[in-house]
């Protein structure tokens, strides 16, 4: 294992300390329980946005705390969901009286910990909604699995909802927007190499020189199939076509009913993509793949979208949601409407995403 770290057990803490030291005007960090929050939070009268999940995906989520995006991030250990007390403590810190939207990636651990946190916050009188992101088109059915994982769309939802919260959306309107972003976003990724969890010290899985994993999540776990390594164009095609031709996806998710203080099941369906749609194309590095290769993927993706009559109205290209030093990439296509475009373009100022200010 070759990493720029000290003791494996201090990786999360020291990385957060470094991030906070680098951006004191944007973020503050607290430990035990651990969370990162926007400098100056709470913003009175604004809905607060919180997200969280295992560490190892940097800059997500702590790098997205700031103006126009998240109010707090709750980082767990590497690839391990954060605990309810972290999420609760963050909620207490950033609650500006207008309630809290938790953006939660659909992994069993994240879901359960955020559910417990929502129950605890509710019992303290903090109004909370949890919206799940489940956009991983590699997962085909929701009946025999935990359902689709939350991947690339998470970053886009955090940006778009962050702008909306900054712009005065109330909690229920914001939750509705977040749900819309989730339903319109789809992702898929490939890994060329495994990654190494510092505390484990050896790669999570072994890939031969000529192999790659298709349909991976972001936790260094193996994907849905292992195939011979393909060219960038073939990989872009494989990912893009899976996303573009993904049919309507229906699943039942559990959302918190903040009025009644209980969980309610909601059935939600993703509208499929079709010619004439405008999308945001997000080409993401899993950490070890350099930008030059992402642009080779983007080049082909743009050609495919053009052929399919899909207009790329916005794009985001870079390492935004990583799996430590894993080589590989993911593609996310988010079908846009005017509301989402306007919110995407709105100013944002966080350690990892910044424009308009």
């Amino acid at each position: 294992m070759k990493k720029l770290i000290n003791q494996p057990e201090n990786v999360v803490r020291e990385s957060l300390e470094g991030m906070a030291a680098a951006h004191p005007d944007l973020i503050q960090v607290r430990f035990d329980p651990t969370f990162v929050y926007r400098t100056g939070a709470p913003v009175q009268g604004k809905v607060a946005l919180i997200s969280g999940g295992g560490s190892g995906h940097e800059p997500m989520h702590a790098g997205f705390v700031g103006t126009g995006m998240l109010d707090a991030a709750c980082p767990g250990e590497v690839f391990t969901s954060p605990t309810p007390d972290q999420i609760l403590e963050a909620a207490r810190q950033v609650n500006g009286g207008a309630g809290i939207l938790n953006i939660v990636k659909n992994y069993s651990g994240d879901v359960m910990n955020f559910e417990m946190a929502a129950e605890l916050a509710h019992s303290e009188g903090i109004r909370v909604l949890n919206i799940l992101i489940d956009d991983d088109a590699a997962v085909k059915d929701s009946l025999y699995t935990q359902g689709r994982r939350g991947v690339g769309t998470t970053v886009l939802a955090e940006k778009i909802c962050g702008a909306a919260a900054e712009g005065g959306y109330d909690l229920s309107r914001l939750a509705e927007l977040c749900r819309k972003v989730n339903l319109n976003g789809r992702s898929m990724g490939v890994a060329l190499t495994s990654c190494t969890v510092p505390a484990k010290g050896s790669p999570t899985f072994n890939l031969g020189e000529g192999e790659m994993e298709v349909g991976i999540g972001i936790h260094g776990e193996p994907g849905c199939q292992r195939v011979p390594v393909k060219s960038a164009d073939e990989i872009a095609e494989m990912l893009a076509i899976s996303i573009i031709e993904d049919s309507a996806y229906t699943r039942t998710l559990r959302e918190w009913d903040a009025d009644r203080g209980e969980w309610a099941e909601v059935e939600l369906t993703d509208p499929p993509l079709s010619a004439g749609d405008s999308v945001l194309a997000f080409v993401n590095s899993l950490g070890g793949t350099p930008l030059s290769e992402l642009y080779i993927i983007y080049r082909k993706l743009a050609q495919i979208c053009e052929n399919k009559g899909i207009k790329i109205a916005r794009n985001l290209i870079g390492p935004y949601m990583t799996s430590l030093e894993m080589q590989g990439c993911s593609i996310t296509l988010l079908k846009l409407d005017d509301e989402m475009i306007k919110l995407w373009d709105a100013p944002v100022f966080t350690p990892a995403l910044r424009w308009g200010m």
Binding site: P33, G54, G76, E77, V78, F79, T80, S81, P82, T83, P84, D85, Y107, S108, G109, M112, N113, E115, M116, A138, V139, Y144, T145, Q146, R149, V197, A199, K200, T204, F205, G215, G217, H219, G220, E221, P222, G223, C224, Q225
Partner: protein, 207 residues
């Protein structure tokens, strides 16, 4: 009869067993998950033994409540809320007690298993910790109902847990990270079922 002291010794022994099996559990998780189960459980149980002295003079319900809170705040992942819920429900089932009868343990296991099933929405055969916990709870209950001693009932519970754990090997996972592997999850033993078996086995072996 299981005394409070035995419960404390069990929790302490569990921390040691989990530490000894940390790499093993993590390797199992590497095969079908994200290579952290042993690390997660070990982090949690190390905190548990650090907390135990502060509640050593309290009742078993309070001790379990502390174990629950400690696991919830320190394990994270899927196993944190699940084992946390197990001990939370267990603590409610034995609130105020200084020692446990066979019936108490039966109730505790039953409540814990139900809590895990509710929190995780998993069913028997989904290739999760439930596949070890649930048969163990049933076997214990049946043995006690049939007049067995606590030690005998525990023996049967652990045997059932071990069988349940081994039975996860051919299963295709339907819950947790392993479910994303689809058919490729078959052929691997579930890490959570393995830690559940180890914890119960440690109870049996605690004198």
């Amino acid at each position: 009869m299981v005394t409070k002291e035995q419960i404390l010794r069990w929790l302490q022994a569990t921390a040691i067993i989990i530490e000894q099996n940390k790499d093993y559990l993590t390797e199992l998780d590497a095969a079908i998950g994200d290579a952290d189960h042993g690390i997660n459980m070990n982090r949690g149980f190390q905190k548990v033994i650090a907390q135990l002295p502060s509640v050593a003079d309290k009742d078993i319900g309070t001790i379990f409540k502390t174990v629950s809170m400690t696991l919830i705040s320190n394990v994270g992942g899927a196993s944190g809320p699940l084992y946390g819920t197990f001990f939370l429900k267990a603590s409610a089932a034995v609130a105020g007690k200084q020692e446990l009868t066979g019936e108490d343990i039966s109730a505790l296991l039953q409540a814990g298993v139900e809590g895990v099933a509710q929190r995780g929405k998993a069913q028997l055969g989904d290739k999760t910790m439930l596949d070890a916990l649930s048969p163990a709870a049933s076997a214990f209950q049946q043995a006690i109902a049939a007049g067995a001693s606590v030690a005998e009932a525990l023996q049967q519970a652990v045997a059932a847990a071990e069988e349940g754990m081994k039975n996860t090997i051919p299963l295709v996972a339907k819950k947790g990270r392993a479910s994303y592997l689809g058919d490729r999850s078959a052929g691997h033993q579930d890490p959570g079922a393995t830690s559940a078996y180890l914890i119960l086995k440690t109870l049996l072996e605690t004198r």
